[in-house]
Symmetry: C2
Subunit: 218 residues, 2 copies
């Protein structure tokens, strides 16, 4: 795939070596995420809202209640900025100044639109499997009313960039002589033992996709 | 402490039962966070950027390079919206419609300002200990140049709200009779074994704050 063309909004002013415009890299950072943060402007003020995200091909999708202020606004085609961020580790340098965080993030700029009809129904089912791979075939089918009161907004991955920071600290040359421990503390999201709903009326085995959730997403 | 007065921006239109305006609740959600997402408007477009966050009293602080487009903009007092989000679990309901995510989040609206002088130096040291409790006394002291080329922006916690979703799914009454597994998959961020910088020139024991990072932050 061709890399994404950079714009004034996606070009990194500082530390350009951390920037990446490869579609595969941007896709994998989105696919590893459960949620994103969406910024938009309403009544002249900036807003930012966390919400689940799903990617298919060269589009990302947000969904939720049709009453959601954010989805109503974005569905009208107002400009948005979407951020996905993974915090992968704390970087302990020999100075506070060079101490930092390892991360993988993407920024996506653009205007979305509402998806309707059969495509919306398909995407809502896909959302279940995107968030919990294997789950969609286990839940009861959607009702027409549920479909009506849920919105899906599509954004093309046109104007986007990734920013990645990885590895050990970059300390000042002379600081390497100091007797200070330096290194990286890796961070990751883990899933714990599933907690069955006490209101289940039947003995039902916990599904494999719940027992092994974070590994199953990889 | 008195709860925060709600405004049109912080009042929840939907699911108002999930909203919380208690300062203690808002503080604890911020204190559990490593990063936040900051939205702002530049040249008429929305931007959102992930960055580390620290709270002291009724203020939160962001910091970074003085060259940062975001910090320059926020330091001038332009409006911002700050979001902190913790994803605590996946909620597997008997329908896709009621499936959801457990989370704790805050939204903070306001205008910041640059902090200078001794307060800035103190805050930069505090940032090291806020992100890695116990680390500040181990790193080499900041240089005057490092202080000069770093900015700290302060935001008051005036217009803010928390939003919390916790517990088991709320399914449609008749769906409880379906033989579908339902429950919660808990999620948490864990720290792994610290990875020492291979460029250390002395044998130095890994500090306790690195060995036990996520527990030490609690």
């Amino acid at each position: 795939m061709d890399p994404i063309t950079r714009t004034t909004r996606t070009k990194l002013n500082r530390l350009p070596a951390r920037a990446n415009y490869d579609r595969e890299v941007i896709h994998s950072i989105i696919d590893d995420a459960i949620i994103c943060h969406v910024a938009f402007i309403e009544d002249g003020s900036p807003f930012v809202t966390p919400t689940a995200i799903m990617r298919q091909g060269e589009n990302v999708y947000l969904h939720g209640s049709s009453q959601s202020r954010m989805l109503q606004h974005l569905g009208l085609g107002h400009e948005a900025c979407i951020s996905v961020t993974h915090v992968d580790g704390m970087v302990l340098a020999r100075s506070g100044f060079h101490s930092s965080i390892n991360y993988r993030s993407i920024s996506l700029f653009g205007r979305g639109h509402l998806v309707e009809g059969n495509q919306k129904i398909q995407l809502l089912n896909d959302f279940v499997d995107s968030l919990i791979p294997g789950r969609a075939s286990d839940v009861r089918p959607m009702t027409p009313n549920e479909i009506n009161i849920t919105s899906v907004v599509e954004f093309p991955i046109d104007e986007a960039s990734a920013k990645i920071s990885v590895g050990q600290p970059s300390d000042d040359k002379k600081d390497y002589n100091l007797p200070i421990w330096a290194g990286v503390i890796p961070l990751e999201i883990n899933s714990g033992d599933p907690i069955p709903d006490p209101q289940m009326k039947f003995p039902i085995d916990t599904p494999a996709y719940a027992l092994n959730y974070m590994n199953g997403r990889d």
